[in-house]
């Protein structure tokens, strides 16, 4: 198991190397020179040249890449072209917001998705099944941006139930701390602020959960249907076990592997920054920041974000694989299975 884990970790290296080369080439070779916009209204050709020189953009592309990777290996993703601030710090400052939102969203998506998936499978071809599957189809197809705006207009604009954006009312924000507002507000016992943060997270979390929930529902349904047709389920029913016991103890546990895979991958994608959701709800995470940086061609930040996203995805894949062993005793990770 340990050997498998180490080998899988080592496999990260070529994946991240390939991603780093790809994103570097796209940013530095195929993208426009950002000098004239970095320097703003008072840019000049002379100033642009001085800036390129200062940022090392006149070096051969290989040298630029090696310098960049040397920094990355030391935890330094360079500095933002526009703010001169270290990219690592800028991303770390926004990471808690993204993680907090992703965790809430995946909890909502998993609970609701699994619940509706099971109901759908058990009541196959019933009105409930058709309704759930149609809703899931809408969930998959509906643009996040549109859903977010719809929820804001409805629940914030018309009903005034929740705020339209942000993470917490400004003066309730906990000072210092971890940056995870739910945790920080609970730690200091400021329950008013905790519920305020919860209200703020409601709409973005539901918006973000929408797509994942639909995917998880469909996967749960299809996986459950496969299992429900197995002989051992028929045997279990023949033994006179109660319906819920057959569904949850025999069928669901065996249907869990693909569901876990989907949840893991969805969580990876949510963690990597919900670009549109964060922008619509003014949620100050990595996703909204990426949009801002893409719009103004702030390449070092975009490179940093892409590398982190790739890293998160690969790690999530690994964790999902490791979970298999915990869930299914037949799965053993030996040297041969690598």
């Amino acid at each position: 198991m340990l050997l498998y884990f180490i080998k899988r970790l080592l496999m990260l290296i070529p994946v991240l190397f390939f991603v780093s080369v790809l994103v570097f080439l796209i940013m530095r070779v195929f993208s426009p020179d950002p000098a004239t916009i970095v320097l703003g209204q008072h840019a000049s050709l002379e100033k642009a040249e001085a800036w390129r020189e200062q940022m090392g953009l006149n070096e051969p592309i290989i040298t630029q890449y090696l310098n960049y990777m040397n920094g990355v290996l030391h935890g330094d993703f360079g500095v933002s072209y526009f703010t001169n601030a270290p990219v690592t710090g800028e991303l770390l400052a926004r990471l808690p917001a993204t993680i907090e939102l992703a965790v809430i969203a995946i909890i909502i998506a998993s609970i609701a998705g699994v619940f509706f998936g099971i109901i759908s499978a058990v009541k196959k071809n019933s009105i409930i099944d058709n309704f759930t599957m149609t809703t899931a189809l809408i969930g998959v197809s509906m643009p996040v941006f549109w859903l977010g705006m719809l929820l804001i207009i409805c629940f914030s604009g018309w009903l005034h139930w929740v705020p339209s954006g942000g993470r917490i009312d400004t003066l309730m924000r906990p000072m210092g701390g971890t940056g995870f507002y739910f945790y920080d507000t609970l730690v200091i016992g400021d329950y008013e602020a905790f519920f305020n943060a919860l209200q703020h997270a409601a709409l973005p979390a539901i918006t973000l959960a929408g797509y994942s929930m639909a995917i998880i529902t469909r996967m749960t349904r299809s996986s459950m249907l496969d299992v429900l047709h197995q002989d051992y389920i028929r045997t279990a029913r023949a033994k006179g076990l109660s319906s819920w016991r057959v569904i949850f103890k025999h069928a669901f546990r065996n249907a869990l592997l693909p569901i876990i895979t989907v949840i893991g991958l969805q969580f990876g994608s949510l963690l990597s920054g919900a670009v549109l959701t964060e922008t619509v709800f003014a949620w100050p995470g990595i996703g909204a920041y990426s949009v801002q940086c893409i719009l103004r061609s702030d390449f070092p930040v975009i490179q940093g974000v892409v590398l982190i996203v790739a890293f998160v995805f690969v790690i999530m894949n690994l964790l999902v694989d490791l979970l298999y062993a915990a869930l299914d005793p037949r799965v053993k990770y030996s040297q041969e299975s690598v």
Binding site: S31, D33, T36, H42, M172, M175, G177, A282
Partner: protein, 519 residues
Amino acid sequence: MNFSKTKLFAAALAAVFAVTAATEASAALSRKPQDNLIFASTNDPLGLDPALVDDNDSGKINCNIYESLLAFEPDSTNIKPSLAESYTVSDDGLTYTFKLRQGVKFHDGTPFNAEAVKFNIVRQMPENMIPKMSYASFVWGDVAEVKVIDDYTVAITLKRRNTPFLHNIAMMYAAPMISPKALQEYGNNVMEHPCGTGPYKFVAWDKGQQVILTRNEDYWGEPGRTANLIFRTMPETSARVVALNNGEVDIINGIDANVIPEIKQAGNQIFSAEGMSTHYMFFNVNPAQDSVTKDKAVRRAIAKAINIPEMVQSLYKGYDTPATTILPKAIPGYSDKVKPVAYDPEAAKKELAELGVKHLTIYTYSGARIYNTVGGQVLAEAIQAYLKAAGVESDVMVFDWATYKNKIITDTFDIGFMGWNGDNGDADNFLGLFASDDQINNNGLWFNQEYRDLLAEALTMPDGAERNAMYEKAEMIIAEETALLPLSHPQILGAMRPNIENFAIHPIGLTFMHDVVKH
């Protein structure tokens, strides 16, 4: 094994306690609504060091933290004393001697004096300047020497006469005074540790979320009227409008004509004022390229084909003013005697046919700009339609902003679009662009020796009628040569709750919040 697990658990517990101890509620700031003025805008500021930024999102916050030697009047770019109580100019127009206000302190307690002024200027002189200081050469580029006469007197000598100098040092980019102690402490970069002398001081910047300022109780003048200022970042216009209508925020900017009815319907107020920016179409006259617009007759015929007032009304729904000259009305030197080429579609059609112009290439950008809220593509397509009516087909090539800025330097095309946001209320700030050999500023590379001589002479002349007449003449040359086509002067738009008093956006786009009250 057990021992290491215990140690690990103890370490984790210690870390949790350390974090817990460092966390506190924002109790230091009042939670009373009337003490907190919340201003929502599109972007996070780039930073809070006025020497290192050039964006309005930073400027509108910085103007409440920092002050310059001089300041602009609340509704114009006329200058008034600020950190300098008075000044004299030597007979040769080269040396400016400033008497500084006494008893002023930076927010960190450092006294403001002549040494602090010198420190701030020397920081941005060519030998110390870094490329990101994009306004340093504009504001301080002509400075030859800064001399401390005594604690509260400083003399600045220029290399050449530069009439806009006094306006430049009233600006919120490069000109504001920063605590020398803070600059030394934070490695010559106070982007995240701003420290000025202004009526509000910095509390916190939650990246991507908000910047919080609180009243400077030791301010040398009347203290700010609201206790706390909160500048929130909300990228989506619709979300900002909902937040305003709900009362979650008090003021918003970055709105366009489409959302105004909804805002008014909710009982909120609209703020609109003549801005200080210009939006124009330029022709490619680069001598090294093969473009039909190098021919003045072609440019004039194209100008005749475009009904600018009609187009501006249709695109901006009355919230932009059709332009007749590059200078906005509020700038000294503006003249209504300057007449652009009149709209005459029949003449345009005839002349373009005679000149053999059948096809043009239009380059434009994809998104909206401050001076063009409908975006470059919509604008280019409007121009394309006018050209088609005049019998000329055209291709509209749309690029993202960064690509566009590069393409108009490297490619051959006929027509492009650009805009300029006034910095200091001086005519040279606008017209000087087209006297440059730098293609980033003079995009079409138009060249006219008479125009350049006029601009060079006017730059060194004292303010007044004679100088204004020279700019009027320069504008007439632009109109006659049809080097470019002024399109519009955008209005500045904002919206606020009905309980907000005294809020205004300055013509150069800054928001001084000192007198704003929330009832």
